[in-house]
Symmetry: D2
Subunit: 430 residues, 4 copies
């Protein structure tokens, strides 16, 4: 295994696993790996054949003594479908498979891992039995991270042996810093993250939980935009979807809905003006077919804004300009100048998407992520997240995320499929 994907362990796992699998199922060993690059021949790019990820799963021996182990779960950042299902999965797995029955729920994000935070709650199967069917997070969430020292002090004072962090890239950076501090102090604390990214932009995680639900709800918005656009003369439906740096939701929704005529994502720059620009494109489409539907990811077209004036949010991410409202204004203006009585309907379903309950496809994914997070922590692994690679759950060091991004390849198949589906030109106003 290459260094960048090597998983760190707290020490020797000395206890036999309480899970009775030996006879019928066997255990997963650290040697089980999935190739980072499974392509053969000239599709194989530049990666070495031998590089790969540890496959997640139950280990034959565990590092912690389950009945004496205290676990904690924290949820950070914005909402995403499936958080409650991950919480539930972790609690049930700890309780029923490992007989670990001391599980704390941290309130309102990393801020709850401090003496100023709200008191954690005790979690047990009854507290989580139906919670997977509700959106949001039963623990509450927030953005921002107290200093790692403070968090580690809190973990020590509360005798927390393993911390499950459900969060996005800010949370992963936080978890990496906490892990560094834990190592510095040589503490036996396991830090396992379940990556939450409705934008699907965390590297080495091909499919993030909640993403399928997000696309499902987003697709309904595109249907609505289509109905509105076709219901009026010169009707234009404009839908803004999530996607700060990666346009997966926008692109996938356009592929699924099959009714969008233009898709705009952060990875593909575009211009509004001129004969090949967006505004003329919309005008041409509307004159030809009486209506148009446009899907824009929130991070698309940011070059029209001055980043200095936008600032950063509590998670330290650069704030985005509101491209949806900007396009709304520019389109209205354009048609006004052309003396065309456009009827523009702007839909922003973001909160309806984030807060939706996970659909069964995601529920299943959440359950498996949770089960494998528990296996990893129990085995004494730390500083890692549960990844998903070519259909398998994997172990990925959180550190490996540094300076890597996952986004749509503007020269790849997904984006080409979008162009095929919308019929839009390869370059808009560029």
């Amino acid at each position: 295994m290459t260094d960048r994907f090597r998983i760190e362990n707290l020490g020797e796992a000395a206890y036999p696993s309480p899970i009775d699998r030996a006879e019928n199922f066997g255990f997963t060993s650290d040697d089980h790996r999935i190739a980072f690059n499974p392509y053969l021949g000239n599709g194989g790019g530049g990666h070495g054949v031998g590089e790969g990820f540890e496959i997640a799963g139950p280990r034959a021996k565990v590092y912690f003594n389950p009945p004496k182990t205290r676990a904690a779960i924290v949820t950070c950042g914005g909402l995403c479908p499936g958080i409650n299902a991950v919480i539930r999965g972790i609690v049930l797995q700890l309780w029923y498979r490992y007989n670990c029955r001391d599980v704390l729920g941290i309130r309102y994000g990393f801020g709850g891992l401090s003496d100023e935070g709200e008191t954690p709650i005790q979690l047990e199967p009854d507290s989580v039995s139906d919670v997977h069917m509700q959106g949001g997070t039963m623990l509450g969430s927030s953005r921002g991270t107290p200093p790692p020292q403070e968090i580690v002090d809190f973990l020590v004072s509360q005798k927390i042996d393993m911390l499950f962090s459900i969060g996005g890239d800010g949370t992963m950076r936080g978890a990496t810093a906490i892990w560094a501090e834990v190592k510095r102090r040589k503490l036996p604390i396991s830090l396992v993250s379940v990556p939450k990214t409705i934008d699907n932009d965390i590297p080495f995680v091909r499919r993030a939980f909640g993403f399928e639900t997000a696309v499902t709800v987003a697709t309904q918005s595109v249907h609505s935009a289509h109905v509105e656009a076709t219901g009026a003369p010169y009707g234009v439906g404009l839908v803004k979807l999530m996607g700060r740096n990666a346009g997966y939701i926008a692109a996938t929704t356009c592929l699924a809905a099959g009714q969008a005529n233009i898709c705009l994502i952060p990875e593909v720059p575009f211009g509004l003006d001129g004969p090949t620009g967006l505004l003329q494109l919309i005008e041409d489409r509307v004159l030809l077919r009486r209506h148009a539907v446009i899907v824009v990811a929130e991070g698309a077209g940011q070059s029209v804004f001055d980043p200095a004036r936008l600032g950063v949010d509590a998670s330290g991410n650069a704030k985005l300009g509101d491209i949806g409202s900007y396009l709304q204004e520019r389109i209205n203006q354009h048609f006004h100048q052309k003396n065309l009585n456009v009827s523009l309907k702007y839909i922003d379903p973001s909160y309806l998407i984030r807060s939706a309950p996970a659909n069964p496809t995601d529920l299943l994914h959440c359950t498996r992520l949770a089960q494998n997070a528990v296996h990893a922590a129990m085995a004494g692994k730390s500083g890692l997240l549960i990844g998903y690679w070519h259909g398998l759950m994997t172990h990925v060091p959180t550190q490996a995320l540094a300076n890597v991004k996952q986004a749509i390849n503007p020269h790849g198949e997904t984006w080409f499929n979008v162009l095929e589906t919308t019929g839009q030109p390869v370059a808009i106003g560029i």
Copy 2:
């Protein structure tokens, strides 16, 4: 029957109805009436016992000779769930029950009833077979009305014998004006309206089609706001719903969802400032319970805007100030001043509501409205709309709508139930 509810007829209905009901069902006669005021005793208010509406239904004789009759259908104003189901119902009823097979679909509203408009399309059962399961209007819609003279010229030139108008109060005013012109010229043209009002504010129509669907979709938004509000410390969910002059959608949604803490409607003024004002109320709630959910109808709180600066829309309705964004700004400001880190999520699901396909409850209502609209037109009645009163379909002269409004009684049971459900005070900042 009193004058204000008297229905006008084009002349003697001389043809026997092609519907074979005599033996098993009989026909409805114009004498069948439902009391305007069915209360007994001192709940009966000031209305006369004898006042009532004609009950809609098939008449034994019809005025038009079905195989030689040309009908037209037009849809006007904003979208509303169920328009396609009404269109479908009219076409199927004309075709299969009355053997009237010459049905035109007028494109894009009253504007299509003019030589400049788009050419009408011919409608038949196959064109409408599954259309009830889709949102929007298959004919397209628009706001605004050409002069009645022009419309009547068009009806005459196109040999249209009966016009079914699906639209709101602007459309009803238009239909009244067209009927006046038709009468002036003594033309045998039947004008029957199916009232479309997602706000449920057309008088004598207790339940407008699409309203139940609207509440269903709106309820999901309130659930989302609740999930968002509870997912963050000091979380506030703010949902703006339709309701220009009448807060039925907002009030009914609060009753159904059971998760809103404050409901604001046009009928009940409120103030933002001071110790009993909205802002303080929200602050108190958030400090007490960590979250709050607010539902505001778009027409609520309009006194904070200057109507002179807002103008009117293409249907002649006064434009509304954007109370949702206004509250969003004021709430953020208020908490900022109090140094409380509120997390406000603002949801405006209007287009998702308008464009939804009708749910079965509304589908049924749409079918019955359509069937009765056809019965009325065939019987030679004109200048009327299909009303709904105490569970029965009725005939109401469109003229009776002039200067009457339907809205929530701030001293009535519905509003009291809302107060019971939200727990909000009777007076907010007033």
Copy 3:
């Protein structure tokens, strides 16, 4: 008020209502009534003008002293969407509006009102906060009733002052018997029922809670049957829906779905054989259009079964023959004889319908029923159910239900609309 609709009271209501309505809303008085028959002219049938129902609502004075009152809630019979919403509504209304905080939840039906039953649970707002969004009953239900004496003994021993029974006609008969025993012993116990009937067949209750949800789910089954039927050559979709004595769900679903070709209900007998019989009708339709969709209510066509062999169920209702399977067999047989390769798909969605969570239309109805049930009990009324008449919540003595049935009039408008929608003949095989 006529005798049959007269409501009985436990005694003088001496306490002022804790609800502060006087200034803005006033209270409802027993004189507020809605006419039993609100028709005017010759549509008025034979009923007296003065007959009517007490209108439900908060009374100015209450009989019970709320802080010292113990209430109990019991749910009986089969599942129906909305039961949990009624439970929730009663608990919240007692707790927040009347400050009555001693509320018992009886387990598993009337059987829980006995010393052999499971121990009741204490209910409070937190126990019911989100329960309205789940199907079923949080208390459990069962069929059958212990002797009234035993139940009254239990009410007395447990110091229960008011019992809210949510159930069907068996439950109403039980409640009537309990009320008789309570009166015999001159006990101050209020018995208020909320009628639960997914079949919508309880008299004086125009719209039962859960019915709209039932139709919504049933409509999806008819869509499925249509998709299956059109997906195969000679495809036949057969859907069995609830409806023991009244075909409201089947009829309403056919009106809403608009895709059924034949609707069979208990109120309208039919025959299978002969040139006008059901089997020939299906064959003709399938040969003409390649597919057919049939909806049958479970209580339809029972004359083919021998009642002596069917027996009765635990609620004392006659068991029904399985008309769905019977038709399935006969249709297959018929086509086999004709050497036609029919593809019959039989769908029985009953449990999916019964267990569905209430939709917003029903949630609202449940909330209002619950609120008015509490108002009635607090006012010291007893032996009644909450009815629904021409859009208003009413008080109806449970005794008035004896020997009265609500069913579809085979010569009325609803059934005619069904015939119009399906296109089926008035008489099938009769």
Copy 4:
């Protein structure tokens, strides 16, 4: 590439692709391959590193001259969510990307590829624009296959150059036979299959279209069973799901729903009787928790039936015994003998699952399958199906399916996760 996965071509692809990708995207070459076995180290099993599948996608040169090409689409076997989306995807891809505008829709399965069949219909974008949002197949389907000679005669007489077959393993066998006949006659006809298997049991196709939708609808049935089971004393919910030889739907649904207590699949035998048998297991569970939910795949437990008496269906598959009804009877019997008043609710949602419209997750998958099927046919490949392997669309010879099955590994991770989720023992009654 190994022989078993080698794709056959009709001949040299001489025309440049009409798709303009060269500059921005490039084309996929036949050398692009994905490893059959991407595991590294000792997880790699016995497979050779070099074995793999051709990656699907647009080729730089095409075999057919698009404007002169006639394509045909046929749908076979039972319904499955997404068939219409595949049809739509093929038509749009042919029309807009390849300018191939002569597309026939074959009626009612392979039977429509014969002179006795119904006349094919001409397909164009307008015929399919919204069809992806409806369940079923717009072309109709059927089971059974005429002799390959007859089908090839028909293809020749109708001048069909490429045939897209959407169907299951029977269809794949049929397509293999047709391809053999086409090769025997040396005809330039491309045969491309899109595998349809709601059971997800076709090898080399990790995820079949419609599967996610099937699990979504099935999950609702398990929720219903749970609500019913908990709503009655000793409540048992029994759900039968699809899965003739492979229990993927049952297993995945149990993982997603999280409410089933026992899952029974064809791959894992079980016994009913004895102290470790299914009946005792249910009894224990019901006595302990008052309710139980059981999910059974239709192909599970078939050893209780006599195959000789069951026969085969029109597709040549062995008919299954009705395990759902069998269990229903045996469970009722068992509790009757034990004098326990069980309340068993049996739910069979199969037709509701099969006929559901595809959800967005599946819509996307269907679109990509369709696009790649067209790319393959246009490139002159034949005798293949579009597979799905480690997240990529692939080319798989239909012949490779012979004598291979895909099913759940009873010693693998998926089944272990099910055991973890239900809590059932590894062996039941065996």
